[in-house]
């Protein structure tokens, strides 16, 4: 009995080892062989570009929580890329993908996800990102009545109570650059963080400048952007399944849009307010 079992287990282990070893690396296309006509693209659904974002979709990245209206910076960028690739507006289909599941293992239900996701080397081990469609600065949002509005030298900044949404690079910035003496509060959504700011449970939120600008002007009564931190090389990229062949064609489209000045124009149109915000040091 014991021997039979042993043989069975040994066979199972061997089989498992073979199965694991059989995963072959995905071939990378060479630049010369890049064919980006729609029929050749690696798509979820042939003839259709499936783009994901979270719900609710926040301003100024989207408008009215309706990604399909083409308004808001990320919505406009998605349509610009689709057009550049040769799709018509009606061939772009939006799906909802919560941030937390966008990097889950297994097949993706989108071609790419556009959701203010910052590119980091650790994240790039799990998913693939496109080139930058927006370079990110972090900014501080608070209430006009909070002392942080006047006292925000690097030493002052360490003494406030911060709050943020889980997984934001703003939270990582708080921990690695501001190094506060009090543990920050970390919420499920930005809305919860805003609610905590309104009820004075926290002193400030650190978030990318356009979102900060929107919060201070639209979501928080008597809110203000205290300042933005200098650029730290952070940028947002479209999120793809790891090694998706589509990335090369999308990057090509991004390059073309960049040289045509499209991103700059869209930033002026949707994100112009943030340029005037003063720069402060962490």
């Amino acid at each position: 009995m014991g021997k039979k079992l042993f043989v069975l287990i040994a066979a199972a282990l061997q089989l498992a080892a073979t199965a694991c070893g059989s995963t072959s690396p995905v071939a990378q296309p060479s630049a010369s062989s890049l064919d980006c006509s729609i029929s050749k693209l690696n798509l979820q659904t042939a003839g259709q570009l499936t783009v994901a974002t979270d719900s609710p979709a926040y301003d100024p990245w989207f408008s009215n929580n309706t990604p399909s209206n083409g308004k808001g910076y990320e919505s406009a960028v998605a349509y610009a890329i689709a057009t550049q690739l040769g799709f018509s507006a009606s061939q772009l289909k939006w799906v909802v993908e919560p941030f937390d599941s966008s990097y889950a293992p297994g097949p993706k239900k989108f071609d790419f996800d556009i959701n203010e996701i910052s590119v980091t080397p650790e994240r790039e081990q799990v998913v693939s990102f496109s080139k930058s469609y927006f370079d990110v600065n972090q900014a501080v949002v608070s209430l006009k009545s909070n002392p942080i509005v006047n006292a925000h030298s690097p030493t002052d900044l360490a003494n406030y109570k911060y709050g943020d949404q889980v997984g934001t690079t703003g939270l990582a910035y708080i921990q690695s650059q501001i190094k506060p003496t009090k543990t920050p509060r970390v919420y499920n959504t930005l809305d919860d963080a805003v609610s905590a700011l309104k009820t004075k449970q926290i002193d400030a939120i650190v978030i990318d400048t356009p979102t900060a600008q929107y919060m201070a002007s639209q979501q928080v009564p008597n809110g203000t952007v205290v300042g933005q931190f200098p650029p730290a090389g952070e940028h947002m990229g479209l999120l793809f399944a790891k090694d998706n062949l589509l990335v090369a064609c999308v990057n090509q489209a991004i390059d073309k849009l960049n040289s045509a000045g499209t991103f700059k124009n869209l930033q002026t149109q949707y994100l112009s307010d943030y340029i005037s915000i003063p720069v402060i040091q962490p």
Binding site: M1, L5, A16, G106, V126, V166, G167, I174, S176, R185
Partner: protein, 289 residues
């Protein structure tokens, strides 16, 4: 019917089936576990899943934390879960007993307060715990009152846990009180004790002994539900794991949190089993005598 107390094998061999059952139970266990392992190991996405959930390097980093990169230690954060659990447990036991006793009193003048107790248990058993946490944790600070609106989120979280769990636990107490035979109370009354004294010295002591296992069951559940307080911004074990996952795009931090919760709850679960078994032995003893 054969009295169960005459042929009662030890717990260990009962689990295996006893005698010839040992072979059958071992074989079936190996088969079932082997099949499950096959399923996980041979699935097309196996390597990916094992990396995403069981990467040892990520598990270690999530366990000890990495403050320089904004990563909180999951084990350090677990201390907060344990603190919340311990404080909440004491408050729940007291509040729930008070409610159960109120529902048990029969004086006509106490109707309004009995009614309140019924409404309380119905309400808090019916509303999802997470909504109670949200309502208290975001609602009370918004009131802008002096003491009530300026507490730490942990305090609001524990308050919500106490309100919700006291409703369940009061029902457990009530079942225990109801299980004490009415003749006990009647006998106490005939000795000259008041209704309250009969409840306090005769009924409740017997009831409490009987409800210890179901109470412990509720507390195993409470240990896990402390994780829900994270929605108020508190960095407890589950939230620390969530921060890790979304920072590096790897869920192994959640696996660490799950393992730590198991370390907390499994001993309590086994202790509950032990108490149930002891209680059963005792009662069979009583019947035999």
């Amino acid at each position: 019917m054969v009295p169960a107390s005459t042929d009662r094998p030890q717990r260990g061999s009962r689990l295996l089936g006893g005698g010839r059952g040992v072979v059958a139970s071992t074989t079936s266990t190996v088969l079932v576990i082997g099949l499950l392992a096959f399923l996980v190991l041979l699935a097309p996405g196996s390597a990916e899943v094992r990396h995403t959930f069981f990467s040892l390097g990520d598990m270690r980093r999530a366990l000890v934390g990495d403050p320089e990169h904004g990563i909180f230690s999951v084990s350090g954060a677990l201390v907060l879960n344990i603190e919340m659990f311990l404080v909440a447990e004491v408050l729940i036991l007291a509040l729930a007993l008070a409610i159960a006793v109120i529902r048990q009193l029969h004086a006509a003048a106490l109707l309004p307060i009995r009614l309140l107790a019924v409404i309380y248990t119905d309400f808090f058993r019916g509303v999802p715990l997470i909504l109670v946490i949200y309502a208290i944790g975001f609602g009370l600070p918004a009131l802008n009152l002096d003491v009530i609106s300026t507490q730490e989120p942990v305090v609001y979280g524990v308050a919500a846990l106490v309100l919700s769990y006291a409703a369940y636990v009061s029902e457990v107490y009530r079942a225990g009180i109801d299980s004490v035979h009415p003749s006990q109370a009647a006998a106490a009354r005939s000795l000259g004790l008041t209704e309250w004294q009969a409840l306090r010295f005769v009924v409740i002591p017997q009831a409490l002994r009987r409800v210890v296992p179901p109470l412990l069951n509720d507390f195993i559940s409470l240990q896990k539900d402390t994780a829900l307080v994270a929605v108020l911004g508190v960095i407890e074990a589950n939230r620390a794991a969530g921060i890790y996952s979304s920072t590096v795009f790897n869920y192994s931090g959640y696996t660490v949190a799950a393992l730590l919760f198991l370390v907390l709850t499994v001993p309590l679960a086994r202790f509950t089993d032990y108490l149930v078994a002891r209680d059963r032995r005792k009662r069979h003893g009583e019947v035999a005598a």
